[in-house]
Amino acid sequence: MTALSQRSSDAQIVVEGLEKRFRIARRDRGLWGAVRGLARRDYQDVLALHDVSFQIAAGELVGYIGPNGAGKSTTIKILSGILVPSGGRCEISGLVPWRDRVAHVARIGVVFGQRTQLWWDLPVIESFELLRDMYRVDQHRYQRSVDELIALLDLEPLLDNPVRQLSLGQRMRCDLAASLIHEPEIIFLDEPTIGLDAVSKLAMRKFIKKQNRERGTTVLLTTHDMDDIEALCSRVMLINHGTLLQDGTVEDLRSDQRRVVVDFQGVPTLTPDHQRLLESSQGERLVFALAGGVTEFLGELTAHYQVRDLVVEHPPIEETVAELYRQARSSLR
């Protein structure tokens, strides 16, 4: 507790023991179930978040990952003041999001990749102007920030189109701009790259990174795309079944597993030690799996055998993460 309070002095977002229960009405299947549901309702408690704690300092860029239904969006919704948690504490820049909602949301920007928060029938620029009025941004500040956003996100050709006519990638760029018009200190991005093509994804990442670096905007982003995480985040939090499983650097997510692919001059006769490390072989190409000591191993290889070429590989981060999800599931059983 004392450690937490000490750290919270420089933390912008403080979350402690956050818990969220949903009550869901349950109905038995079929017609009989529907009839019975009229007289008696069964409720089922679903624990969406359980004892989630973390702190984020100003200017951090944090990735928040976990399988579908893990509790990512619930966390984001609580942090943005939309949902009230069932228990625990949360403070952002000294405000409690759901209690001081109006003051809090004026300082944050939120993008939900699955929906737009622009007005469907309005031309993009008029949506921006409406947001200016809603957030009471003065004309001078608005002009400066909107001009910059238009230039950075290449929105000029889209401004007069109604939002419903935009492609997903275009709409997402507009949504991102819309969330930044009032120059928030913090942005929450819930799957900002979902459904985007490679070019749009790259543009999105570049922009998020720039915003974080140059303006010091704190970013918390959820995604299923590990490339987003690798490209953007210095820190990753992993959640599953409502519980935070890991909170560390991207490097922590990578396992120590290495794969060494070696092309030999002719098929070598391996020493028993090396034979044990062999994962697979195909003619003169042999693949070794190691859990460390890569440098020594490479030294031995070149000393003992005729090596033509070799490559050291990480297992893709995606595999590691999938493995973590699986472990979490079996540990809960």
């Binding site: 939309i82 949301v105 009025d133």
Partner: protein, 272 residues
């Protein structure tokens, strides 16, 4: 630059004004029904020799203003808001640094006012000016009783708009419980026209019903402004009626606020 609420009203107004075709269709149906009502009441007045609580001219005012301001009555919900509640879009409304009730009130105000603005003018011009020109002066909308009655009528239309918006807000908030909104959309067309006087002018109801009809909010949404226009409520008695409208407005807003606070507590954002 506008403040947030006027900006919301302006944008919604601009969007709703695009529905010109609907306005023209509305104009012709309302004109048609107006004529049927006029003929029914003409027959009623011709067949009765007893003194009625209203003159035929006052009933004409009641009917034509009723047709002109029909869209202002709270008989339906804004489909866009209904859709937002169903689909969980309400969440995003909470992301705006605005009080939710005031924000929706601004939208609802535009939703009530914009279609009315489109329909009212042609209806008044047609029934007040065109009908006498084509020889139907005994069925036409009479001019206001006096200049003062006309001015007070405009004031009471403001009260009518406020009341109707506050009531529509309650309907919107109720959607959070019922989700589909069909029930409300079907119930209100049964209740609102009767209690506001749109079906039968309130003074024509039996005497024993009058106290009940007097103490309900819908009266201020039709009966009061229409009778001010026709002079059935004389200028000297206007002020308490206007105050009555705003009193009910206060009650409806208070109730709406309370209801919205309760709704927010049970609100579960769908999806995700």
């Amino acid at each position: 630059m506008l403040g947030p609420y006027p900006a919301i009203i302006a944008v919604r107004f601009k969007m709703l004004l695009q529905y010109r075709a609907a306005a023209w269709a509305g104009f012709s149906t309302q004109l048609f029904w107006g004529f049927i009502k006029v003929m029914v009441f003409a027959a009623f007045f011709a067949s009765s020799s007893l003194a009625q609580p209203m003159t035929f001219a006052q009933v004409l005012v009641y009917i034509w203003l009723g047709q002109a301001l029909l869209a202002l009555l709270p008989w339906n919900v804004d489909q866009e808001i209904a859709e937002q509640i169903r689909g969980g879009g309400v969440a995003y409304e909470l992301l705006r640094p605005l009080d939710l009730y005031s924000y929706w009130f601004a939208r609802t105000l535009a939703f009530r006012a914009a279609p009315t603005a489109l329909r009212m003018l042609p209806m008044v011009v047609f029934t007040l000016l065109v009908l006498p020109l084509i020889g139907l002066e005994e069925w036409a909308l009479p001019p206001p009783e006096s200049l003062a009655s006309g001015a007070w009528f405009l004031v009471s239309v403001l009260g009518m708009l406020a009341l109707s918006t506050a009531f529509t807000m309650i309907m919107h908030i109720c959607l959070m419980w019922t989700i589909s909104g069909e029930g409300i959309n079907r119930m209100m067309p049964g209740i609102v026209p009767v209690f506001s006087g749109l079906i039968i002018p309130l003074p024509l109801f039996p005497d024993w019903l009058q106290p009940i009809l007097y103490w309900q909010p819908f009266r201020g949404m039709a009966d009061v402004p229409f009778r001010i226009y026709s002079g059935h409520i004389p200028v000297t008695e206007v002020l308490p009626e206007i105050l009555n409208q705003w009193l009910w407005f206060g009650v409806l807003v208070g109730f709406g606020y309370w209801l919205l606070n309760r709704a927010r507590r049970i609100l579960v954002i769908q999806g995700g």
